[in-house]
Amino acid sequence: MKKIKLTLLSIGAMFLMIAATPDNSGYKVGDKAKEFKLKNVDGKMVSLADYKTAKGYIVVFTCNHCPYAKAYEQRIMDLDKKYASQGYPVIAICSNDKTSVPEDSPENMAARAKDKHYTFPYLYDESQDIAKTYGALRTPHVFILTKSGGDNIVKYIGAIDDNSDDASAVKVKYVENALTEIMAGKPVTTSTTKAIGCGIKWKS
């Protein structure tokens, strides 16, 4: 009996360690972000390096099905409208496993992007490698990168703003504040934030 208890305990401990890992892996502010080449909803491959004139990127891990992603969809579209022309385009990535969430399949992503007239790429991270490398945990999860020499440096990780429920009640716009500071050449005051969101659906 004691042995069983011990085994259960160690299984429990293993689970805890697994649950705790995502928080410690992935990027921290200041890290160099990995380049990627992912398929867009129009079938073309997209890389960060394709944006020759960009000064940086607003990389957003998002998806179709999640209520939080839906609540933020218009705000993500607005970010691209406001900042793409200033050198910081939105690059949206969906990393969810389409088997567990058929609503997030590439076909449904394409339908959504067309229906909502996305002005930015909506890329499918089929291998989930980019979400894992970046440390994206939920949707939406934002990583602001800036170009520096040949590298892309992570400047901000977290939420878009401080009110997922209601865009009109937002008090602090985390992403916009970070971009304002970045464009002014200042360090980002609030460079990481946490948020509730739908966990990324990993392949089993």
């Binding site: 689970f15 649950a19 209520p67 945990l137 009110n163 429920d165 209601d166 946490k194």
Partner: protein, 161 residues
């Protein structure tokens, strides 16, 4: 006279029905107060939402835990992260359909960044997550993970042994 009885019965049904559906909307401070009750009950606060598939999948384990251990001062409290606007349209029908009798609260505190760290430093904000407390025994454990019934039992048995 019959009519009065009839009305009374109807009223009773309505009030019973209302009671079953009562879900209080709370802010983070009120949630903290729920977790700080100074008694010898072991509380399991399960943080979940109707839109969270793994949360919905593990929900029956918590319901079972509550019923199996109810005589041992173990109490499960469901803390929903659903949007406030979805209270009547999603959360209440879900609770009714799943016949959940345990306490359910809707935690509405939109600026999650301001309170996630206060709930637990290691919490990323992902759900399901569970907070297990026994304030008399000064026990406070936070888990950002899914639970099987056996895992829950293991933890609870260590606390109430």
């Amino acid at each position: 006279m019959n009519r009065i009885y009839f009305t009374l019965i109807i009223l009773c049904f309505i009030s019973l029905n209302l009671k079953a559906q009562e879900i209080k909307v709370i802010n983070f401070k009120e949630f903290e107060m729920l977790t700080q009750q100074n008694n010898d009950t072991t509380y399991i606060f399960n943080l979940w939402a109707t839109w969270c598939q793994p949360c919905v999948a593990e929900l029956p384990n918590f319901v079972k835990l509550d019923s199996v251990y109810s005589s041992k001062k173990v109490k499960v409290v469901f803390i929903s992260m659903d949007f406030k606007k979805d209270l009547d349209t999603r959360l209440k029908p879900f609770i009714a359909n799943h016949k959940i009798k345990q306490d359910v609260y809707l935690l509405s505190e939109p600026d999650a960044n301001s309170w996630i760290d206060k709930a637990d430093k290691l919490w990323s904000g992902g759900i399901p997550a569970s907070l297990i407390v026994n304030n008399r025994l000064k026990i406070r454990k936070f888990y950002e993970k899914e639970f099987t019934f056996a895992e829950l039992e293991e933890i609870i048995n260590q606390i109430i042994k």
